[in-house]
Symmetry: C2
Subunit: 230 residues, 2 copies
């Protein structure tokens, strides 16, 4: 910290100077998942200060891991370079290690409704859903007001949208659980069926959406050995 790096010629040290600084691996995880915009990165990294995110993005650009494309009239976008894409298997391996060796009781201590919803939105699979607009409301009754209710709107052509305020549409499915249960399902430590049978998860609404929920909800990309998005 005090000094630039480790002063070691070893490739592990050189790479660690680039990717093992605070938050950096998570920034790369977001970029690997397809996020390109500054404020979208922020949504996936809610506790990271914008100043530090900006600094890290510059450092990664300097290291040749990402490239910043500034359109004249449009917003800037950040993309992994070839070197950056080469880091994705490493991030997947780190995630797999965490999934295997970190006690779920510890990770389920770090609940964050906004982060969970943002993550679910990204990975939600519309294919098993009816071919029309579907609105699902998630409710976490024990959460503070602003984090208690969420709407996910799936449109066949507009994709998946997340709102923390009522968008006004009719709701096709109400999902109610405590945040811990929903996170455990998302991480693969619990299932829709088991949680529903045990009363930890309540589903009210269209039968088809309920029956296929495990399918369209999916799992965190790190819950099983699976690739990150393109």
């Amino acid at each position: 910290m005090a000094q630039a790096g480790y002063s070691q010629f070893c490739p592990v040290a050189m790479a660690a100077e680039i990717i093992c600084t605070r938050w950096t691996l998570l920034v790369l995880r977001e970029l690997g998942a397809g996020t390109t915009r500054f404020n979208d990165l922020r949504r996936g990294l809610p506790r990271m200060s914008p100043a530090l995110l900006s600094q890290r993005l510059k450092e990664l650009e300097g290291a040749g891991v990402i490239r910043r494309s500034m359109q004249v009239g449009g917003p800037g976008e950040y993309h992994l370079t070839d070197a950056g894409r080469d880091l994705i298997p490493i991030i997947e391996a780190v995630g797999a290690w965490g999934q295997r060796w970190v006690d779920p009781e510890v990770s389920l201590q770090k609940l964050d409704a906004q982060l969970l919803m943002w993550d679910m939105r990204r990975n939600l699979d519309p294919d098993p859903m009816p071919d029309r607009r579907c609105v699902i409301q998630f409710q976490y009754p024990e959460q503070p007001v602003g984090l208690r209710a969420w709407w996910i709107v799936v449109c066949p052509r507009d994709g998946v949208d997340l709102c923390s305020a009522d968008p006004g549409h009719d709701v096709d499915l109400y999902v109610s659980a405590d945040l811990r249960t929903m996170t455990a399902i998302w991480m693969g430590a619990d299932t829709v069926r088991r949680a529903q049978d045990a009363g930890r998860l309540r589903l009210v609404g269209e039968r088809g959406l309920i029956d296929d929920m495990q399918a369209w909800l999916g799992l965190s990309p790190f819950a099983r050995p699976q690739k990150l998005a393109s």
Copy 2:
């Protein structure tokens, strides 16, 4: 920093809290290479303060990555657990990434004679050497006095020893180069033959030792896709 971790349930974040703190990956690299003693770890991490090393070892023990074995009369030893051994492929992948994507001109800026000699000592292969005691003196004429001369003593049964003071034995081979050249050879960016032909490396002594130098010297474990030591 201000807070303990990232407050994210994602396995990547959980793992990053454990292994992506400063110096930690290099501590694990040393342990993965077979080093078990505190002061030997220090030799491989010369710029890391003992206080921080001690702290990191405790953190890693708390995370279940290493185990500390305290013998009653003997010195303490640190060993990777199963979880820790599972990190070795990740460290190798990080090293491979660094070897591929970090400009050698940048890594060859971070020269360190003591670190290089310690690293060479660990990986030196006595097999291609004569079956008797061999003494090799390395000289880096441009280095400051205490780092200028090194002796490696290879004994068929006592293993490989490194001295920074003359051990008093007859020298079988004198190796003279600048530190950058020797490091480049060690990292696979140069070869004994090429450096000698170009006059960057001077070898004086027993013909057989000279001819087989590339073989017994070997390469850094990260210079090619190869396993760390047992």
